[in-house]
């Protein structure tokens, strides 16, 4: 629906609906609801929202080491004393860093690729932050690269590409394990997950 051509909708309102509609996960109805909510909002709240949106574009940059989103480069994780500098975990998106950090089980550094190889979307290795990863390895003593891209087709293809590129440079390249989710029931696992879990079984 194009609100710009609906005379019954005031032009500024139509514009804000259109803008909301562009956001991921926001359909036309949600966009309308949000826009009408804005109108009833106190002016200072609207001001604060607008400023927050501008600030996120102006003040946030990418860390020149790990390529994660940060306010100051190098980022908090890359400059933190206690992190293990001999390990780098390679992920697809900045959100993946958050997920891994929540585990509190990993103390190494990260590298964010900002995407996956997907020829259909025209994304090749040169569009990802792979060159930056190669640069990072020069002169740094990195013992292990953990490939933590998603177990999707594109994630696998990216992991394999990075693996081939880095295998002459790093002694230890690992891939996240695949298998049964914690707390689940064998009966409910699908055949592919279960056979992967069998392949990746470990000594107890």
């Amino acid at each position: 629906m194009n609100y710009e051509f609906l005379p019954s909708v005031a032009a500024p309102l139509a514009r804000v609906i259109q803008e909301f509609h562009k956001l991921p996960g926001i359909g036309p109805k949600s966009a309308q609801r949000l826009a009408y909510y804005l109108i009833r909002m106190p002016a200072e709240e609207a001001q604060s929202l607008a400023e927050a949106i501008l600030a996120v574009k102006e003040r946030v940059t990418f860390c020149n080491i790990c390529q994660n989103i940060t306010e100051n480069s190098p980022c908090y994780l890359c400059s933190h004393e206690s992190r293990d500098r001999s390990r780098i975990c390679v992920v697809e998106e900045p959100m993946d860093v958050l997920s891994l950090e929540r585990t509190q089980a990993y103390k190494g550094l990260y590298h964010v690729l900002h995407g996956v190889i997907s020829p259909a979307s025209g994304i090749g290795p040169e569009n990802l932050k792979i060159r930056e990863l190669l640069e990072r390895l020069k002169g740094n003593d990195v013992q292990e690269i953990i490939l933590a891209t998603n177990p999707s087709l594109e994630g696998e293809s990216t992991a394999m590409y990075v693996h081939r590129l880095l295998s002459p440079l790093v002694s230890h390249i690992t891939r996240l394990a695949r298998g049964l989710p914690v707390g689940s029931d064998l009966e409910y696992a699908d055949e592919v997950t279960l056979s992967r879990a069998l392949e990746g079984r470990q000594e107890v």
Binding site: P119, A120, G122, L153, E154, E156, Y161, E191, V192
Partner: protein, 412 residues
């Protein structure tokens, strides 16, 4: 509840290789005994009790015969087969609650009866074509199940006018026929097929990027490997199933035509095969990819693999796609569908419900008789026809007959 879930799970398709065909000797009976439709296509409200055996629904055009068969099929696969989308299945002229339709069926099985309910409701956000989203709620004995869990609770095979495309249409329709059949027998196959399709899609784009010198040859490695891995599995499965089907198909066909015509069916793989063992297939794929890479880049499309497979049907030594008459093609299509039903029956030990949607009209008298004789042997066969004259007295006497008129059904 756990007991019921286990029961549903037990009825899931068997793994193709684990059950020997001869192991199951007795066929269990399954049939629909009651149907209740609300706002489904042209039925505002219908309550219908039906027996097992041969059921004949007659009536003029556009009275609701196909819609009734479609409702039964919906209980089996949770999808409306005729509608390009399930949305059209909802009756939009209904006075009350026009955005909701329901199909409920009671299915009698050997030891128990199950109540299958498919609720369809329009609502939610529209898709990219501004059509409203259709929410489907499927319940078996009141317990919510997913569409893929419903597959296997009741098996049905549907015959309709479009089946003729299996013979006359493009190889894609015959690949679809193999896929639907194998998916019901082997759950890993569906995943493999879905992955394969994604790989081909990505790989074709990459081939075009290489042609335009925007990507490097080396980037193909992963996609080649993935294509070979899934392609080998799909080729192997299709080959195995066609082996099973070949004899069935040629026996059924000579039964329908009283041995006047001989039918042979062959699997034509999209990769020239050196042999039929897994290793041979693997080697054939690798060689085809290696030798044909230049051509693939030039064409910008993957040239070898199961996406180029076909089934070759020959009648009396002639290729059916080019030489079969309409009646011959109809008989062939029926044969393929009957074979599908028979294979499912052998594998699962349950006789599928046969749904014949106006397929008698193009057959001559003797083929019609043979077909009806064959389907009368199944637990339940539901046949629709515009013309009762087309069906011989001897069948009418033993069948249960219904008259369909403007969304109402009366026994006759």
């Amino acid at each position: 509840m756990t007991a019921l879930l286990t029961r549903i799970r037990r009825n899931r398709p068997l793994w193709y290789n684990t059950a020997s065909l001869e192991a199951i000797t007795r066929v269990l009976s399954v049939y629909v005994s009651h149907l209740s439709l609300t706002n489904f296509r042209n039925y505002h409200q219908l309550e219908l009790d039906v027996p097992s055996g041969l059921l004949i629904f007659s009536g003029g055009n556009a009275q609701g015969k196909s819609n009734l068969l479609e409702a039964v099929y919906l209980l089996s696969i949770a999808k409306a087969y005729r509608a390009s989308s399930d949305r059209e299945a909802i009756c939009r002229t209904a006075l009350e609650d026009p955005e909701h339709a329901q199909v409920l069926g009671i299915v009698q099985r050997e030891r128990d009866r199950v109540r299958i309910m498919v609720d369809m409701r329009l609502g939610g956000p529209a898709d990219e074509n501004e059509r409203p989203y259709l929410h489907k709620d499927i319940r078996v004995d009141g317990i919510h199940v997913s569409a893929s869990d419903l597959v296997g609770v009741v098996n049905a095979v549907l015959f309709d006018a479009e089946d003729i495309q299996l013979v006359m249409g493009s190889p894609a329709t015959r690949r679809r026929y193999m896929d639907i059949l194998i998916c019901q027998l082997d759950r890993v196959y569906l995943r493999s097929l879905q992955k394969y399709q994604k790989v081909v899609y990505q790989r074709n784009h990459l081939l075009r990027l290489i042609r335009e010198r925007r990507s490097q040859f080396e980037e193909l490695a992963f996609w080649d490997e993935a294509l070979v891995q899934e392609g080998v599995y799909i080729t192997l499965k299709r080959h195995q199933v066609v082996q099973e089907l070949r004899h069935l198909v040629s026996n059924l066909h000579s039964e329908l035509t009283e041995s006047q015509e001989e039918l042979t069916m062959d699997y034509v793989p999209g990769v020239p095969l050196e042999g039929l063992e897994r290793e041979d297939i693997q080697r054939s794929f690798e060689r085809a990819m290696e030798e044909g890479r230049g051509r693939e880049v030039a064409l910008g499309a993957s040239q070898w693999g199961p996406h180029r497979d076909d089934l070759r049907l020959m009648v009396g030594g002639m290729e059916a796609a080019s030489y079969a008459s309409r009646g011959q093609a109809r008989t062939l299509a029926l044969t393929l569908k009957l074979a599908e039903g028979t294979l499912l029956e052998r594998e699962r030990g349950e006789s599928p419900i046969l749904l014949l949607d106006d397929v008698l009209s193009e057959l001559d008298i003797s083929r019609r008789r043979r077909l009806l004789e064959y389907v009368s042997r199944s637990q339940q066969a539901i046949v629709s026809t515009t013309d009762l004259d087309r069906i011989e007295k001897s069948f009418l006497v033993n069948a249960t007959n219904f008259q369909v008129e403007k969304g109402n059904i009366k026994p006759i």
